[in-house]
């Protein structure tokens, strides 16, 4: 029996070997080939028309040519990058990275410290954005590209019809939500979305939360802190009395509600016009933007929903040139203008407001102060530190708050927060991260 199968096992082993070597010997997709001093860089980004923005650089920098490789989105690009890092090849030189993914990428040794080339542009960015790329250290893991200060969008026509005014505090928001739902049980001022952890973390950021932090050589995790508890209890209360809806955003159902006027308002961010235009184009001219409602009107604050930086990967063979391009992309006036007009990006650079954001987005053409509101919000955005396992916390948010939203019990919302904290710290301890406290 054994002798009969010996050759068979031999063929099998040879085949496995063949496959294994075939996988590891392929380096042909490597980046950054140098020919006669000319450097070619690849750049992964999911912003629309980024190649048009980059064309402006390529035209004036014949020695550093950048090729854009369009990605599906933030999550997909990170998964791809981490796979390439693990494989040892296949990563681009330059990578668009969402702020909340930067600690994960740094922890996986996927993005490089470019402090030598990029520390000089610090003054061009608000502290909250700069903090996201340094993680509070001396290192610089990227240059901020865009930020997403949160704003409140509402239907002016329905507000006028129902005789309600724009809420400026969260108390007023709750009262308005109740009033609107009472006037028409089909209508809601907003929804609590368990599908959007970035939305909830932005609202918590406004309330003063910072879910992670660095204390010496240990992490702190403060998801279940007083500020976030306040936000969770607030939304739990609104869902319990039925003043706001409890179904997720970004579903065909939600789109229909935006279109037919049953979603009367939306707590979104500066990139909101694009979403509204894409999902409810027929409502153009009926929306207006306002600052986010405040907890304490005397101390206005804001949070971010979304935003990303441009980083250099550890696999790049031309890190200095890549950093040079990144500085240009996110601070040069011409590049900022192109980012706004071609790529629909709200630049993180503080210069952008005066140079590139001079007219409102097309969907809010009647509101000349659109970008002034956004800039004010950006100025008062609270600092917020992301941790190395944001994905774990975010997926825990999805599951725990979905259950809470479905139960429509305010107490379930605060319990969900505790679950989120527990899941996040357990995962970190399990991986070996040092946690303070």
């Amino acid at each position: 029996m054994t002798r009969k199968f010996l050759p068979l096992a031999g063929v099998l082993a040879a085949a496995v070997l063949l496959v294994a070597t075939g996988c590891s010997s392929d380096d042909s997709t490597d980046t950054g080939t140098t020919t006669e001093g000319k450097v070619n860089l690849t750049y992964w980004s999911w912003a629309p028309n980024m190649d048009k923005v980059v064309a402006g650089w390529n035209a004036t920098h014949p020695d550093i040519q950048v090729t854009v490789n369009k990605q599906d989105g933030g999550d997909a690009a990170v998964t791809k990058l981490l796979t390439a890092i693990k494989a040892g090849s296949g990563a681009p030189d330059i990578m668009q990275a969402e702020y909340q993914k930067i600690p994960t990428l740094v922890s996986a040794n996927a993005i490089a410290d470019i402090a030598a080339q990029s520390a000089s542009v610090k003054a061009k960015f608000p502290d909250s954005a700069w903090n996201s790329v340094t993680l509070g250290s001396e290192a610089v893991y990227g240059v901020p590209q865009d930020s997403g200060p949160m704003m409140f969008f509402y239907r002016t026509d329905i507000f006028a019809k129902l005789g309600v005014t724009v809420p400026t505090t969260w108390d007023e928001y709750a009262a308005t939500a109740r009033k609107i739902h009472k006037a028409d049980p089909k209508k809601y001022l907003g929804t609590f979305s368990a599908a959007d952890p970035g939305w909830f973390s932005g609202l918590s950021q406004q309330a003063g939360a910072s879910w992670w932090g660095v204390q010496g050589d240990a992490w702190t995790v403060a998801i279940n802190d007083a500020a976030t508890q306040k936000v969770a209890a607030y939304w739990g209360g609104l869902v319990q009395v039925g003043a706001v809806s409890n179904t997720p955003m970004y579903t065909p159902d939600w789109n229909a509600a935006l279109n037919d006027g049953t979603q009367v308002g939306w707590l979104g961010a500066v990139w909101g016009p694009g979403v509204l235009e894409g999902n409810a184009a027929s409502t153009k001219g009926k929306w207006k933007a306002a600052p986010l409602p405040q907890w304490d009107p005397a101390k206005p604050a804001d949070g971010n929903w979304g935003g990303s930086a441009t980083s250099v990967t550890t696999q790049s063979k031309h890190k200095a040139q890549a950093a040079q391009f990144i500085n240009w992309l996110n601070t040069d006036p011409a590049a900022l203008k192109a980012l706004v007009t071609d790529a629909n990006v709200y630049p993180a650079s503080t210069d952008a407001t005066s140079t590139a954001l001079t007219s409102p987005p097309a969907f809010f053409a009647d509101q000349p102060d659109f970008y002034t509101i956004a800039a004010e919000a950006g100025k008062v955005t609270n600092p917020f530190t992301y941790g190395p396992n944001v994905n774990v916390a975010y997926s825990a948010y999805n599951d725990a708050f979905a259950k809470a939203a479905e139960s429509k019990q305010a107490s379930a919302f605060t319990a969900a927060l505790a679950t989120m904290q527990e899941t996040t710290t357990t995962d970190m301890k399990n991986s070996g991260f040092k946690i303070a406290g």
């Binding site: 068979l8 085949a15 496995v16 040794n109 159902d253 997926s395 599951d399 979905a402």
Partner: protein, 313 residues
């Protein structure tokens, strides 16, 4: 090296001995590359883990090391794992009998020649199988969402308030419905083909003996196609254990489907959301072993009897 000539017969036999393996080689290489190697690698990964030190930032702060069976204990003791297994068991209890029951019924009806529009009916029952599960789930998702579902409007105009099928008490049936819709056609074709292979003189003889149509179906046809029924059952069982595309596609539409709704969704979450391929590999191995045990256990239990019956008839 001494050149001792081999006896010619041995040499020829030696040459011939290699021939079967060279014929087998393409299949073996493919098997090794796309089945054996990945399975082996998953098994290896399931015994590894990442150990981070301190803040975990910067090069060298994370090392891959031996984990023993800790991934397995973690995966099996995850509070979400057992509920997901129970959920899928319940899902299987709905899907498998309903789907196979419908498939058998339709196959028998088509075979009895009662339907005038045989070819058309056969094609239209089979057609949903050709729709990819993700597309089917999106289509059904649109039909389930109350604000855009045409059913809700129709029911409302009839004065009936339809239940929210994506709510926690209905969502299991909503997912099961998609699987039944997509899978019945395939099983029907398998059973129908088996029915067509039965010589018609058996039915004729039974009819002469005074058997009714129902008796012919239950006493003659069903026992004969039992092996096919067993096969479709095993296929359905495996598909149930691997349910993924339908709940995954519906997940963003509702609060009632979690990341760990089914065991395979937990694998996906661990590997691609939490970047923990090691515990995902461990859970995959557990699911694979459970699938093997269930399918072969069932075949052993019922297979012999079913095939014996075929021989006896």
């Amino acid at each position: 090296m001494t050149m001792t000539p081999f006896p010619s017969t041995t040499r020829r036999r030696g040459k011939r001995a290699g021939v079967p393996y060279s014929f087998l080689a393409p299949a073996l290489i493919l098997f090794a590359a796309f089945l054996a190697a990945p399975i082996g690698y998953a098994g290896y990964l399931s015994l590894r883990r990442i150990k981070v030190s301190g803040l975990g930032l910067g090069a060298g702060s994370r090392v891959e090391k031996w984990a023993g069976l800790s991934n397995y204990t973690r995966s099996l003791s995850d509070p979400e794992f057992l509920p997901s297994v129970q959920r899928v068991a319940l899902y299987g209890l709905i899907v498998v009998p309903v789907m196979l029951g419908l498939a058998l019924l339709m196959a028998l009806l088509l075979d009895a020649g009662r339907t005038r529009v045989g070819v058309f009916a056969r094609t239209s029952i089979f057609l949903p199988y050709a729709v990819p599960a993700v597309i089917a789930s999106l289509l059904w998702g649109f039909l389930y969402l109350p604000r855009i579902s045409p059913f809700v409007d129709v029911l409302q105009s009839l004065g009936v308030t339809s239940p929210d099928v994506l709510s926690s008490s209905w969502v299991l049936y909503a997912v099961a419905n998609i699987a039944i819709w997509g899978g019945t056609g395939f099983n029907m074709i398998v059973l129908y083909t088996a029915l067509r292979a039965i010589p018609s003189d058996l039915s004729e003889a039974a009819r002469i003996d005074g058997a009714s149509d129902r008796q012919i179906a239950l006493r003659i046809k069903v026992p004969i196609v039992l092996p096919s029924l067993v096969m479709t059952f095993v296929f359905s069982l495996i598909a149930t254990l691997q349910v993924f595309a339908e709940p995954m596609t519906l997940r963003p539409l509702t609060n009632t489907i979690s990341w760990t709704w089914s065991p395979l969704m937990k694998v996906y979450r661990d590997a691609f959301i939490r970047n923990d391929i090691y515990s995902a590999a461990a859970t995959s191995v557990v699911i694979a072993l459970a699938t093997f045990a269930l399918s072969f256990g069932f075949l052993k239990l019922i297979g012999a009897r079913a095939f014996n019956q075929e021989d006896a008839s």
